[in-house]
């Protein structure tokens, strides 16, 4: 589903991602761990083109993006990728001027040009899936953080993505609201959704992920099965990181 080759990203002089080779297979759940500032978000955002790669290449959902392609070509391909991926942000980023249901179906109406009834039907079934159907006509500001994030997940699922990207989906939630969001993500994992999840929830990563990717300073330091990684990390960096948790 994702395969990068020497993917690099710099912000001006600052080299944030250094020749990353990473792969996410179809149906796999990959948890990306690492200290803050290590480049996890940037890597995730490269996958759907919210950040432009400055070196190397990647193949996401069957679309090849290369830093050497013309800007126009890359824009076209990135758009193709975005039609097949969903993203969930730390800050939810729901549209405050739209109701819960409108948030979920916006892209169906505008991007996919679905007729209204069909989109509403789909939107309602997704809201039911995240347990928020009764909130469909309220504005996001009336919801708790956990509920907002569940709506954001429903919104991302509306486009029927092949790949879901999560960037610290529970990091801005009050502790008592974390579980309801993780439960939804676990459901998705069970249904076989391919996912890349940046998270600080170690217990969750251990339980749900098929593979752990541990990043530090813009490189992948260690990679492996959750059990092996958590019980017996190979690198000092990872040992230090896990001890702090």
């Amino acid at each position: 589903m994702i395969k990068t080759t020497a993917l690099s990203k710099s912000f001006q002089q600052l080299e944030v991602l250094k020749e990353i080779d990473v792969q996410v297979n179809s149906g796999e759940v990959v948890a990306i761990l690492g200290p803050s500032g290590s480049g996890k978000s940037t890597l995730l955002r490269c996958f759907n083109g919210l950040e432009e790669l400055t070196g190397g290449s990647m193949q996401v959902c069957g679309v090849l993006v290369d830093a050497k392609q013309s800007k126009k070509e890359r824009t076209k391909r990135i758009r193709q990728i975005r039609l097949n991926t969903g993203m969930v942000f730390q800050q939810f980023n729901l549209y405050p001027h739209k109701t819960v249901l409108q948030n979920v179906i916006e892209a169906l109406l505008i991007v996919k040009k679905w007729p209204k009834e069909r989109a509403v039907e789909k939107g309602e079934s997704l809201l039911a899936r995240v347990g928020l159907l009764e909130k469909k006509d309220v504005y996001p500001s009336r919801l708790s953080g956990g509920q907002q994030q569940r709506v954001a997940i429903a919104r991302a699922l509306a486009m029927e993505p092949d790949l879901m990207l999560f960037d610290e989906p529970t990091s801005s939630l009050d502790p008592e609201l974390v579980d309801e969001v993780l439960a939804v993500i676990k459901e998705l994992a069970k249904d076989g959704m391919t996912m890349a999840v940046v998270t600080h929830e170690m217990q969750f990563a251990r339980e749900v992920a098929d593979r752990i990717i541990f990043m530090a300073d813009g490189v992948i330091v260690e990679e492996g099965k959750p059990e092996a990684f958590f019980t017996n990390p190979e690198t000092d960096r990872a040992k230090k990181f896990l001890k702090k948790k």
């Binding site: 758009r79 975005r82 993203m87 892209a107 991007v111 486009m159």
Partner: protein
């Protein structure tokens, strides 16, 4: 007071023109503002520069001077406009500059995550602007734009100098005829006040309606 009552239709006609000029200028000024604000935020370098120059020049010169240039100045180039047309043009250009600044600030105040969420869902930049960013920015911009609007209502009195018979000039014409000042001036002051507070009231209602989601 009798002279005022007697000439009330004439004054009301002046008030009508004051309103008309305000609304027309506000309408075209808003359109200008949208283009200029987007040009300043998304344009390439020469376009950004032109938009900036426009805003700077308009904000840095008196509205009266702008009106006079459009009406009298352009005559040098063979452009002889109707006074009312000149008023529309000058005031639209003027208000467009102020509104563009309001709108630019409002657009910049929308968190970046909104754009990212829309892009991530496959929306194009134009769709994102139209459906996600603009509707939110408009809500932010409405209170200050409303104040500009009310300011505009009062500024229209300036076009009396290019012989547009709006409210102020209506009173001046009557004064020239009857040689009494205060009744007419007080009357038009009251009319301006009624129109301004009327707008303030409508504006508050509008703000309330648009703020249901917060």
């Amino acid at each position: 007071m009798d002279v005022v009552i007697e000439n009330l239709p004439f004054l009301l006609r002046g008030a009508y023109y004051t309103l008309l000029i305000t609304i027309v200028s506000m309408f075209f000024g808003s359109i200008i503002a949208v283009f200029v604000a987007v040009a300043r935020l998304k344009g390439n370098r020469p376009i950004r520069w032109m938009a900036r120059a426009y805003v700077s020049i308009i904000r840095g010169t008196p509205t009266l001077v702008q009106i006079i240039i459009v009406y009298y100045g352009l005559v040098d180039y063979g452009i002889k406009l109707q006074p009312l047309t000149a008023a529309y043009i000058a005031l639209s250009i003027s208000i467009g500059a102020y509104l563009s600044e309001t709108l630019r600030g409002a657009l910049q105040s929308i968190p970046k995550g909104q754009m990212e969420a829309a892009y991530a869902s496959g929306m194009t930049p134009v769709q994102t602007m139209r459906r996600i960013i603009f509707p939110q920015a408009i809500r932010v911009a409405i209170p200050p734009a409303g104040n500009t609007f009310i300011g505009m209502l009062k500024e229209t009195s300036l076009v009396s100098v290019i012989t547009v018979t709006e409210l102020l000039r209506s009173s001046q014409l009557l004064i020239a005829q009857y040689y009494v000042y205060m009744p007419f001036y007080i009357s038009i002051a009251i009319m301006y006040w009624i129109m301004s507070t009327g707008f303030s009231f409508l504006l508050e209602r509008l703000e309330k309606r648009l703020s249901i989601y917060v």
